[in-house]
Symmetry: D2
Subunit: 293 residues, 4 copies
């Protein structure tokens, strides 16, 4: 099976490496071409254009946002370049509007498109343990499954409408941002009573909150060291909450916790922490409480 | 070792049963006396008064709120009734102000008081798997440890100031209420896009949010059946958020997520759902989105 | 002075009528052409195309949103059609991004563009008492002043960067939506204590809150009758809060009150009240409190 | 008519001065006795005890909070000291629970109690232009009316249940705190786009928001000078929002805007601004946006 892979960001890069390491025939392309080098050294083929990737059995795209995929589709006629039997698997986090538009455009061109956004951070991607939420034609999902099995710990099929996978991804990230903000608030509360954040965070993440959403962010909060190249950037968290709020507003679903979280993310970005790990949200709670004044 | 036990509510009752079942010498007292019967049948002694419990090596109190313990202390001179070597272990969730006052009153009377609030719902209490956060004199904590070992999976000692255990408990419950509200919002969001809440909740609670705080509430949300006598009542959630917000405001720690959650809890209570399981918060998100209109 | 006028909505129509009634030479155009009839009967000229309006001394556009003006500009080459000395006065509420883009596009084409959004509802527009916040080239503002003097009670010049007028407009509407939501919450609070909303609202709008932002919405709240064709639609309020939040997020300015208000607007729209007067926000507070159950 | 007056704080002092200046027979008492001096110099009588004030035709109490009046009532048997025909007029801002308890205690003792909280800041009190919201027995209100006419611009009778006046007062202050916070947020938003806060605030407070709630706070925001001995202290604003939220929670009325405002007030107090004028809330919005970094 030939796999095309476009989008070598923080999550896409380890995903592609795992595909290559598993012995699959992978053709990569990236706007910044030199990001392909390590993959080529590992055994991947570097495509001359996106069309080379689109001519494979499976095309995986993993771009940063709606605009990046939209540009790729328009500038390189990506849909036109897809083979008649190619399955285009969009694994990125996109807006619901864009997700629906992508599905419609592929269908109109007689091409196959599925959505398969992933749950997990770069280190999880590296370990090949992502959770993959897949929606679209069931046969197409099966076609992509060998690749999914390499990249992920589990595939969750959630129906034939591709956008359904995307809304689940947005809702999950929504919960994640709320969880991290809440943990930061709680750590500030306990710190104001002279409990070391690390002591508090160890207790909660060992018991009631013993889950990746918390355990992945508590150590950085405890050490107040948010410089994590493999982390989930605070600014991306703001982007994802925006997508969730937009998805909610489109259907008139009120999301009051997310609304409050979004404003805290704004404060963090105003503080210049947008490129730090999401756990830096805890600093906002400390600033608001003037704990370090 | 003789143990006195006062407060046979939803959590206290299974805790006391476990102590008796472990062969410890337990004297129980409860304002509503007939709640003692099953324990006496199991081997406990029924005290004639709170003083009988206070005369033991360890007195455990597990009352509903500040007012209940305050009334007990005042009406029955509970502190005066404590033996010189008795360790009074307050395992209830109380306000920080009251926690500090209790510690001071015991100290002034030359008596020993520690705080040991628990993390976990009634079913966890029944299984003897509570997390026990303990603060106070280290020797006193050791005195109580045999009882802790029976009731809990782990003891977390967090220093000598008793209120520190209480603030950790409040912060944990604060995170819990935020987690459940957020999960309800996310479920409403996905439901508005025709994703079954159960499908969404299974994915998140099997992966990023695979922790008791979520797994304990997701099934009821999925089934929309919130009648759970062993659950955590929504109205108690509101009380606990009030305690956390009050603890925050006392130190000028802003808790914006909790503030938003508190108003959702108000809506749930206005809807007559205060006595349902906390997971009923999800109905508020559905109502706000008018999903069932 | 010849005036072109495009955009005959709830505010634009009375503005145009006032210009005609003042004896000015007005050419109107509207996508739905029959909206021009009453104005033509009153003395206006109906343009054959937007270009006829753009060929005047002053072109006033008053369209519903960014998309409407954007479509007009693109489909009819509106900027190209502007005369060399024509002043294009955009009086609509637009996003800051679009405001900046408009100014740039006009400048690039060597044409004159100013922003002059208005404060006031349809009845204020009808009375010619709008507050006009104007930004752009000072001479251009003076060119448009005769028209402003007819339509408004006062012109507030706020500098040469056109977007500055737009941000003031967005911030004002932001305050308005927060004011109306807060008044609705307060009315629900007092109603829960058996104070008639009308009694409470009369007191506050006669004293501490004796301003149009409150007086314009309190009577409808008191009577719970939100059917007001000349009102400010709740759904437009949501749109404007979105614009304000987007303007804030672009600069990382946290707006926690607006975030909370936005979610209440979502609930109102979910309840099917988007086309009602903004004062219908009060019903959301009543529903959340289950006052009418 | 003899008037007893207890409580010489920021609002009470000018109220009492106006009564004396109007030629009424006023007996004053204050816990800090030397605050009575200027009034005695102006013609008032200094009482030896609260009972001297309670023996008048009308007793006005204007104390800082529930605790202060509660202490006065208990320590000095104030209710017992009231004459059979004395009307006790409580003009302070109190909680709804306390308001109900006061009414009950007076009724049980066969004494007459009405609530008459005031709207307005110290400068309004000095000018004798307060808005007085009065509830209780209609005859009792008439008995106090000569005093009200001196102190206020208008009396609003709102029924026979005294607590109704208090809930209106709390709801009004709730709206005030929300208005000032919102104005601060809007000023930060416009400032981030290089609009001077003073320019923005002049426009809105001259038009849509031309009311005391805004005009009384905008100048300090514009000048960023919050040192105002006659102002409304930020910390009192937090206290009043707490009372409003508590009144709401008692009836399960959700107040999401107030909840958000309360957390901003916490931040202001954490910043050490609790004793500044309420308009200092604007600094919190500036800090969150890091405008002055």
């Amino acid at each position: 099976m030939k796999i095309g892979f476009i989008g070598l960001g923080a999550i896409g890069t380890p995903m592609a490496h795992n595909l290559v390491a598993a012995g699959l025939d992978v053709t990569v392309w990236n706007r910044t071409a030199d990001k392909c080098k390590p993959l080529v050294e590992a055994g991947a083929t570097q495509g001359d254009s996106p069309a080379d990737c689109a001519a494979c059995d499976v095309l995986i795209t993993m771009l940063a946002d709606d605009a990046a995929l939209s540009a790729l589709v328009e500038e390189h006629d990506l849909i036109g370049a897809l083979g008649q039997t190619t399955v285009h698997v969009n694994m990125a986090t996109v807006s619901i509007d864009f997700a629906k538009a992508m599905a419609e455009q592929h269908a109109a061109a007689g091409k196959t498109y599925i959505a398969a956004p992933v749950l997990g951070r770069p280190d999880i991607a590296k370990a090949g343990k992502l959770q993959i939420v897949a929606a679209g034609d069931a046969d197409a999902i099966e076609t992509a499954r060998p690749a999914f099995d390499v990249m992920g710990a589990k595939v969750w099929p959630v129906g034939t409408d591709a956008y359904r996978a995307n809304v689940i991804k947005l809702a999950t990230n929504y919960m994640l941002m709320a969880a991290v903000e809440t943990m930061g608030e709680a750590a500030a509360l306990t710190a104001s009573y002279d409990v070391e954040p690390g002591d508090f965070l160890e207790i909660v993440t060992s018991s009631v909150f013993a889950a990746p959403a918390y355990q992945g962010y508590a150590p950085a909060m405890a050490q107040r060291d948010y410089d994590n190249p493999e982390g989930f950037k605070l600014a991306l968290g703001a982007k994802d909450v925006d997508l969730a709020l937009a998805a909610g507003h489109a259907n008139n679903v009120a999301l009051p916790v997310g609304a409050a979280v979004r404003e805290r993310l704004a404060e963090g970005m105003a503080a210049g922490e947008g490129d730090l790990d999401l756990s830096a949200l805890a600093e906002g709670s400390r600033r608001a409480a003037h704990l370090d004044d």
